[in-house]
Symmetry: D2
Amino acid sequence: MDLNKIILSDEARKELVNDRRWLHAHPEEGWCVFETTWFIVRRLRSLGLEVLAGIDVIEPDAVMGRNEALVLAAQQRAIEHGVPKEFLESLSGYTGAMAILRTGRPGPVTALRFDIDALPIEETDDPQHEANAGHFRSQNPGFSHACGHDGHAAIGLALCRWLSENREQLKGTVKILFQPAEEGVRGAAAMAAKGIVDDVDWFAGGHIGCSAKLGDVGVSHFGYLATTKFDLEFFGQSAAAGSPEKGRSALMCAAAACLSLGSLPGHSQGITRVQIGKFISGTGRNIIADHAYMQLEVRGETTEINDYMAKNVEQTVKGLALAYGVDYKLTRMGEAVTYKGDEEAVALLKSAAREVPGVHSVVDMNAKIGSEDCTMLIRRVQEHGGKAAFCYYGCNHHGHHRPDFSIQDETSLPIGWGTFARFIAEINSQD
Amino acid sequence: MDLNKIILSDEARKELVNDRRWLHAHPEEGWCVFETTWFIVRRLRSLGLEVLAGIDVIEPDAVMGRNEALVLAAQQRAIEHGVPKEFLESLSGYTGAMAILRTGRPGPVTALRFDIDALPIEETDDPQHEANAGHFRSQNPGFSHACGHDGHAAIGLALCRWLSENREQLKGTVKILFQPAEEGVRGAAAMAAKGIVDDVDWFAGGHIGCSAKLGDVGVSHFGYLATTKFDLEFFGQSAAAGSPEKGRSALMCAAAACLSLGSLPGHSQGITRVQIGKFISGTGRNIIADHAYMQLEVRGETTEINDYMAKNVEQTVKGLALAYGVDYKLTRMGEAVTYKGDEEAVALLKSAAREVPGVHSVVDMNAKIGSEDCTMLIRRVQEHGGKAAFCYYGCNHHGHHRPDFSIQDETSLPIGWGTFARFIAEINSQD
Amino acid sequence: MDLNKIILSDEARKELVNDRRWLHAHPEEGWCVFETTWFIVRRLRSLGLEVLAGIDVIEPDAVMGRNEALVLAAQQRAIEHGVPKEFLESLSGYTGAMAILRTGRPGPVTALRFDIDALPIEETDDPQHEANAGHFRSQNPGFSHACGHDGHAAIGLALCRWLSENREQLKGTVKILFQPAEEGVRGAAAMAAKGIVDDVDWFAGGHIGCSAKLGDVGVSHFGYLATTKFDLEFFGQSAAAGSPEKGRSALMCAAAACLSLGSLPGHSQGITRVQIGKFISGTGRNIIADHAYMQLEVRGETTEINDYMAKNVEQTVKGLALAYGVDYKLTRMGEAVTYKGDEEAVALLKSAAREVPGVHSVVDMNAKIGSEDCTMLIRRVQEHGGKAAFCYYGCNHHGHHRPDFSIQDETSLPIGWGTFARFIAEINSQD
Amino acid sequence: MDLNKIILSDEARKELVNDRRWLHAHPEEGWCVFETTWFIVRRLRSLGLEVLAGIDVIEPDAVMGRNEALVLAAQQRAIEHGVPKEFLESLSGYTGAMAILRTGRPGPVTALRFDIDALPIEETDDPQHEANAGHFRSQNPGFSHACGHDGHAAIGLALCRWLSENREQLKGTVKILFQPAEEGVRGAAAMAAKGIVDDVDWFAGGHIGCSAKLGDVGVSHFGYLATTKFDLEFFGQSAAAGSPEKGRSALMCAAAACLSLGSLPGHSQGITRVQIGKFISGTGRNIIADHAYMQLEVRGETTEINDYMAKNVEQTVKGLALAYGVDYKLTRMGEAVTYKGDEEAVALLKSAAREVPGVHSVVDMNAKIGSEDCTMLIRRVQEHGGKAAFCYYGCNHHGHHRPDFSIQDETSLPIGWGTFARFIAEINSQD
């Protein structure tokens, strides 16, 4: 394959932008990406690629942070929006998809992962805002693609077209993963557990924006904090305030949990974090609260440190429930590990990025903070002997997870596409 | 006046029951009793009594726990239900009323207080439930008269009819107060502050049910815990969990407040209580919460002890806000003092009750727990030299503040009426 | 017996004062009252009374708050001060005594209890101070009779002389208990458990001073808070601060315990208290503390409420130890129940006091605060069908448990003696 | 100077060992190193070096963690041990010293720092223990050189002899600092503040042992956590437990402080730590504690992070004192910053170490945990344009800060000496 010819045609570039805009207008959250999955699957089928979706790419036992009521509502909405019932049934309630190109020729297995979910953030109504000015603003009130996963998914689709059109120049196997529920680091673990990347030799993932500006590609050697997300509930006994001996306050137990969890000991080997972000308890001033609900997360500079923190959370919560005479339920809602790239894969991704039109600089970029569940897939690949790397393709955003997030210049999308296409080409092209 | 003739006519008894049922079907909450007030005022006018209502019986500066948005919505609903706009305007946003009978003859001033507000409790749909079987269930979804104030108000109206019909047999002045917002002990302080009971020589209040069963009248010598209700808010600084140094967690401050307030020192002179009943904070797991909202209350066996507790709350909250680098707002939402009846008034109420048809026993009944804001009016009366007492007229309920609260047998209402009518008669009747 | 002749002779009065001064000069603490016990036993023997002491009046299994090392040191000191070794051996390490007068004539069993221990308070060196001016100041540095138990014991001895001298005028049986370890409410439970008051028909105890001034005798119908005293230890894992994951901080667990115990819910039926008075933990700034030691107590307006509090302490501590991954040891160091006198016994004590020379007034005096372990003996008597009462004989002190506590005027002692002697005489004298 | 001739003579080696053993036998703590200072000063004078000591090398305003009572007792002991009074007076209560060699020839200023204080750890009585077997065990009960500063000081003295003997081969100026109170990171700040290293061009410090084994020299590019040590006291109001409203519990405030300080938010830029190591409060179970004393420390991966933590401690403590109505005193007892070596100095130190007889390997060794107040001097040097580095010279110890700490093989001492002598020689030798 002539690597210099890995350039998007005008038509393909137009499709890439249009796909991204359609996805932007139809944001879906977490495990609820039914319309999005249907959009992707329909396209993959039209491209003649092998397609797995829903239950075929997700291991239910490893699913975290999935709310059945939200899923049912999302399915209903998808039906109203024209997604075929049979298709939905085939998913068994799960979303996400994977395209597979089996060239039939011997060669390595390469996989790329794109996350496709949106956020529960109402998009700004500022008329200057990219999606408002461009008339592709979110049609799903209360939700928007405020982290750029619309771009990720569109790049994944453009890669699939390129794979389909260049299948004769390629060897081995290429897999393109479209992952739900990256927000809250919930989805990757279930894709990894399904075993669909166990045969992968080379793996890459990436993210638009973050610390990278337009024209920059950052490639990571290591980074991300490992994290575990928990929902925590305490179940006490309600009583009138006048009869305190008849009640068991879930609220007071939860308050004590905030302080005990907040003051968990750290770790000599690196950063630890505990964050309690939500606390809902009680029905009225003079009623002893019989229920408390908390959302929290721990992080660690290494996976081991994070496991240590998560284990401490479990012990602390169990003990406090006993102390306050209440029951509890601690649920893992998401999980990600730290990232340690394989130097060969990192080098490949770097060399791929350097040749992409529009790229001004390729730099080392290691995330000291934040978490990303692509690390769960990367760990799985590495456990099975594969090599993996992660990168950022820049855009001139002014902040993720904001109502006014925008990638500003859609020329960032072909850069992402080009980096990944060249990565595949360097690995799977026939000489 | 011939005391033996203080008996409800069949017609009056029917009106009493019908009034109670109409009020039961139209429950309104706290400061929002606009339809209820209109129902009362219209009747009082028809009886030819002097009437004050809204701003004329409520001192705005002393109002606690009033939510403007709820008041506006309630006014709107009242208009839709046919309450005249001019009447609503005359209230200046406040509810409650007072009837005055000035006989023109020299004599003492006697006042009785009836509370008229409902609770935010959805009435049970059990068909056996009194109001369902009798077809007068709450027409205001989410609200019901689950503490019997419908009966209180109806008795007050029946007393007004009796006053109107017997004005020639009476001397001095009689005032009948219809008080909003007893729930949360919010309303009495503002009626007291208005000065409308400053000239009162004899005062009585009462409650249906509680520890008294049908046929019993309990009269209190002392009782009730003094209490102060607080809403507490902390205002911090939001930040991503990954940048903890940029945030100030209102949630963590509120959790610390739970423990520090919960462990406030007690008092050598009697019972103290702290109860935190509600805690709402945070928007998401990985966002440092910039706001926390709490509902709490303190109680004390005496008014002094309660004041000591309330002062400690203020100091604790101020210090914790400083410690956590957050702002705070602590609002008094309600207040009641302890009750110490005047023995002369207690004796009068007892002797009045003993002669009422249907009363089997009259006993001492002193509330060790709970609070009642009638105590605020009683204190005001006593500060101005008047004498006061409080009583319970029994009914066979199976628990207040429950979806299935019911007074079961409406013969309890004439007993309440009879007790108060005789109380007035013993004081204000012409020999 | 001629009750009018129950008056101390000048000689007996002198002995009473001298005994009290000797005891004051030789204060011993808690379970360590070996010299005191020897002083008492020697006297009782000389009076020809039956005497039980040490292990014969104390049930070891029910002993609380006894420190073996302190006991051994006290025994050593007693030996140095001339107490015979054989006597000490006969005690088996326990102190306290009981005198018994068996008249041989049928009649009731009457018992009186006197507590004999001192406090770990250094006596003031103010030359005006009673014991300094009178040259009988504490010879045991760091300890003093700062609660008047020296007077109690001396009165008990004076009663024994009177019993001995009047045995022919008496019938039935009289027991005089000399109890160790009242401070910390530790000793009475073990005397009660020994069964030595199980046959008692009439029982009285009392205290000098408190709310009673010289010339007043207060008799209690009810009173005292029930209480349980705890020592609490947490055992964690030490580690350098730099390796927090290797440690388990007993200090942090103990701090959390302060807040959780401090915020234990109260009780609808009355006053509750939690007090943590001592907290010792840690060896250095940068070492994770592997040990924490706390002294705490709970109280309740009734024995049931106190039991509820004590049970909550147990549950809370167990849960927190689990939460923090540490071990714990919770030890009951003392216990007292509430007091409910028998009206017949109260009346007897009142009538006895009224006739005592020097008594100006006999009043009802019910302790709202504080605790007294005589209640443990009283409960035992009442459980076996006996009747009991408790009283105060006044003195012009200016505060108990202070370095400068003094009874000021030793004429208070004959008043205490007279009240108890008449109490016995009214019950056990032969007509 | 012929660098190959920088070898200790047998005599000098014997003196080095003898000095170390004498110092080991005479351990002194923190700011109390009077005998040690006299031992050093006497030697320096005999070597004909310029000497500054006590107040001349310590800036009183910058002194942290100095206890006047301990200092006075140490002075007294020094006098008893023969240290001349006039010498002690010349120190004005401060310890530590600096030798200066001014060659009179132009050239750079080089400084080396040796810390000289011991630890409050009782030396083991295991006969196998190095100092017991060698008959130089600590003669100061409760104290020992359990961190090897005896070796540090002895090496410094050996360097002074070498400087004295080789002064003609050197140019510029050389300063040898003997620093008190490194334990608790208390002393360096006051030496830095005195300005005595402001003219320094090249600076080196080091430590025996740590992660380096015998034959290894580790040189640091960066490392150490910045730290601030605090003593914290709360002053409340004592009262009997029965009258909680009269007290203000310093104990409860301190317990709340443990949880609030323990749960201080972290920092996005690196590791943070809070450690509370000591907590002493209260006099008895039923007395509200009027005093609490705590020892704590914070650390940060950078000096900025540590400052952020220290500032948060200040704010938290101030607020909690207000919340609990108590007074407080927060005292800085020690401080160290992070270390960032200058690459030129690091390279010099490495090349110096490589040539030292007995050195098998020279490696990069950067401390991830722990703190060292030499960083305060290094920062001062760097602020004035000098270059600095830090190293470890190995020994086969089995753990610092233990009763059985020993350097095992005294051949580690000449390695330390050799490294520093060559460092000086490379900088200050005349070609």
